[in-house]
Amino acid sequence: MLAGAKSKLPLFIFLTPILLWLFLLIVLPHLDLLRMSFRIENDYGDMIWSVNNYLEFFREPIYWLTFARTALYAIIVTFLTLCISLPVAFYITKVAPPRFKGFLSLLLLMPFWVSELVRVYGWMILLRESGVINHFLLKWGILRQPVEMLYNDVAMTMGLVYTSMLFMVVPLLSVLDNLDDSLIEAAFDLGSTTPTIVWKIIIPHAMPGIASGSIVVFMLTLGNYLTPNLMGGKNSLWFTEQIYNQFIASFNWNQGSAFGFLLLIISSLIIFAGLKLTNQKLSKVVQ
């Protein structure tokens, strides 16, 4: 690009802050996390190397059950988010009058600029026993007694779907925007029914968007703390809550590190598998 005798100075000026950032804040902390996860305190109070923190995870059913539960719910949330978002993205890009397109996509993105905490708080006001939905159900005579709709798995799942919707809708909007209308028109002229068009044309075309949206949603759900903590009940344990408890409540940083590392591994593995299965590059997905 810039041919000729080029000094090395700009390279060093740009490279130094990047290396400092990546090594001091990303690489070394994660190596430290790995090191801490293999340390335990023995009976004499000395720190020794051990895999005990990891064995503890498999020995205590509460830990690996929570882990499995978190992964399972993250899959369910990802699937539900996809099912809800796909028709919306399709409507905005293909069905709605073109002049509304910009307005509708803007409207869609607005809530996600607001802090996750505010959004979860809004749902808490709506769903709790003294909440707004109960107020109306009682007023209209549908219920006699207020029902606690918060603090259960359904509320938590809905909250997680709500929180991560944006990251599914945006990639879907961009892939569907690139879908040529004439493909659908041709299929329709040749006598295809709506389900056939959806399965044979729309979904295959939207696959890159579906894959990248799903990967991001899955990862964010797995690592979410706020929504399960505030909307799920006391028994709806989420794995990040276990990590928090080990760090802040039990002050067992070594055990917490092992849990943290396990979460990091599973999340990276699933992202890697997702990318391989759909033949995509990480650098494409994150954009």
Partner: protein, 285 residues
């Protein structure tokens, strides 16, 4: 099926209803939060007891509005300071990153690029604990070796700034790189032929071209930092940021003051987001 094809009535009506329900689902929690900020009741719940501005301006002692609530005001100020430093720092380093990955060639570039993307796929909680662990290890080491206690390495304001900076910089790098890709290099070459050196070119030409993207990236970084919870949770010291402070209040029961804060946040973030959008659109014309 699509707008150019004939649609059955049932299809088009049911699709419309679905979209309307979806938007209700999207906006209901935010609208109700805003509305209840003005309800003249001590609980953030219905029934509607009349309109009041107490939750904004009341001086107490029974009701303390947000503008007189010292704890919440303090946390808003902490969040502003944090977001300011994170936006500044991540924009500077992110711009270096964009130049590095777009314009320079060096060994292990691909590897470093993947490392740069990594913060986006690391859960925020993990980023928080690993930075907490490392700063603690470093602090212990420095204290043991040199007998100096560095307060910077203990949970607190600057550790929160560093924690948020560690992943927001990746976003800034991606935003600025996207703009830098569109840069017409003949402008640089022309300037160089006229005798400018590399830094003069960057300063007078490239950065000028990048200005809208830099402002946009800074706004995004500010917002991301202002509302970050997961990473901050583990790094926060005695001065809590707004999301942490709100979380503690929401967990232990709530008052309409939280609604008032939420209302201000919703108005504030959406106007910043809209402003950013309008600026970007104007520039791209």
């Amino acid at each position: 099926m699509i707008r150019t094809l004939p649609q059955s009535r049932g299809y088009s009506i049911s699709f419309k209803i679905y979209i309307i329900l979806f938007f209700i689902f999207l906006f209901a929690p935010l609208l109700i939060t805003c509305v209840l900020a003005f309800n003249d009741s001590i609980f953030p719940a219905l029934p509607w007891k009349g309109y009041t501005l107490d939750w904004f301006f009341s001086e107490g002692p029974e009701r303390i509005g947000i503008f007189h609530d010292q704890i919440n005001l303090a946390s808003i100020w902490v969040s502003f300071k944090t977001a300011f430093f994170v936006a500044l720092l991540s924009t500077v380093v992110g711009t270096c990153g964009a130049f590095l990955f777009e314009q320079e060639t060096f060994r292990f570039k691909q590897l470093l690029y993947f490392l740069m993307l990594a913060p986006l796929v690391i859960p925020g909680v993990i980023l928080g604990i690993s930075i907490l662990l490392f700063s603690n290890t470093l602090g212990l080491f420095v204290e043991g070796r040199f007998g100096v206690d560095i307060s910077l390495l203990r949970p607190g304001f600057w550790l929160v700034v560093l924690g948020q900076f560690s992943f927001i910089t990746t976003l800034v790098t991606l935003i600025v790189s996207a703009q830098l890709k569109k840069f017409d290099y003949s402008l640089e070459e022309a300037a160089m032929n006229l005798g400018a050196n590399r830094f003069q070119v960057i300063f007078h030409i490239t950065l000028r071209f990048l200005k809208p993207a830099l402002l946009g990236a800074m706004a995004v970084a500010f917002l991301m930092s202002f509302e970050n919870f997961n990473t901050t949770l583990f790094l926060v010291g005695s001065d809590a940021t707004l999301p942490i402070n709100l979380y503690l209040q929401v967990r232990d029961g709530s008052t309409p003051v939280i609604n008032a804060i939420s209302f201000l946040l919703i108005i504030g973030t959406s106007s910043l987001a809209l402003l950013n959008l309008v600026v970007q659109r104007d520039r791209s014309k």
